[in-house]
């Protein structure tokens, strides 16, 4: 009953929103047959995954023990697990047989499936590589240029982006050392740069078609 008492104290509107955002964030790192990060597989959206996680934890199917740690990180791990299962589900891996005419008349989703003939489709989550994702509206250089342009007016963002591009460094701690700033500052700048990148993607492709910040 201890867990139930703790669950009754939770602000579920706030927790739900944070969890749905986390699900949206994580779903961008996985490949979906739909080619979209809004409609994943089995007709589910990221906030549906958050809902499933909440119900399974409250229902006791996934047992949360308050003495072993706070709720939100536990819920996030449940979301990770649900998303990974969904990405590997047969629904997400279903490949339809299409005639040549179909290839010509359908959009990105079909093109992605066609590409899948060469490699496994979808790539396993652990194998995800942003460089391997088919390019959408903009090419890599153009995306970087747009991000650089957007960051130019904010010196702290431009400084961090410069360091990343110049040293090709993927560890915030080392970027912090390079430019002599605290790691927290780097992480904050990264969040802001990611939001900028997300906005660029959304502006170019629209929210539903957005390939997300990860693809810039």
């Amino acid at each position: 009953m201890n867990a139930v008492k703790e669950l009754l104290r939770v602000d579920w509107a706030e927790t739900g929103m944070k969890l749905a955002a986390y699900a949206a964030f994580r779903s961008r790192n996985l490949s979906w047959r739909t080619g979209s990060y809004v409609a994943l597989a089995k007709g589910l959206m990221p906030d549906d995954i958050a809902a499933q996680a909440i119900v399974s934890v409250i229902g006791g199917e996934r047992k949360w023990e308050p003495e072993r740690g706070p709720l939100l990180p536990f819920l996030k791990r449940v979301v990770d697990s649900l998303l990974n299962h969904l990405a590997l589900s047969s629904d997400n891996q279903r490949i339809e047989r299409l005639s040549q005419d179909d290839w010509l008349s359908y959009g990105d989703e079909r093109t992605a499936l066609q590409d899948g003939d060469k490699d496994s489709w979808p790539p396993r989550p652990a194998d995800f590589d942003a460089t391997g994702v088919p390019e959408s509206g903009l090419d890599a250089d153009e995306r970087i240029d747009r991000l650089a342009e957007a960051a130019k007016g904010t010196p702290e963002l431009a400084e961090v982006l410069n360091a990343i591009l110049e040293f090709n460094e993927a560890r915030p701690r080392l970027i912090a050392l390079r430019i002599g700033k605290p790691v927290n500052h780097i992480n904050n700048c990264l969040k802001r740069l990611r939001r900028l990148a997300l906005k660029i993607s959304t502006d170019v492709e629209g929210p539903a078609a957005s390939r997300g910040a990860i693809h810039l």
Binding site: V4, G16, A20, A50, I54, I58, D139, L190, P207, I214
Partner: protein, 86 residues
Amino acid sequence: MSIRRRVNGRASIATLAELFDQVAPDKIDEAREELRALGVDPSAAAGRLEQLALRSLGERILGEHSRAARALTHKRPDVDLINKLN
């Protein structure tokens, strides 16, 4: 501040992707922004998830009460009406 040119755009994209993956949204404003970028109304999503959570909590509490009540009656056959009827 000007942005210096990098060698390879795709390598830079991969590095940025790796960095961005390390900064999941954890504050409420960031969460709101993330959902908006997805085309989801953050308040509507929060409301829906809150209702769902409260309904699930109600069901769990009812379930635990009825399990506790059943366990109690099984320990006291004199008040177990089902046993008496049988």
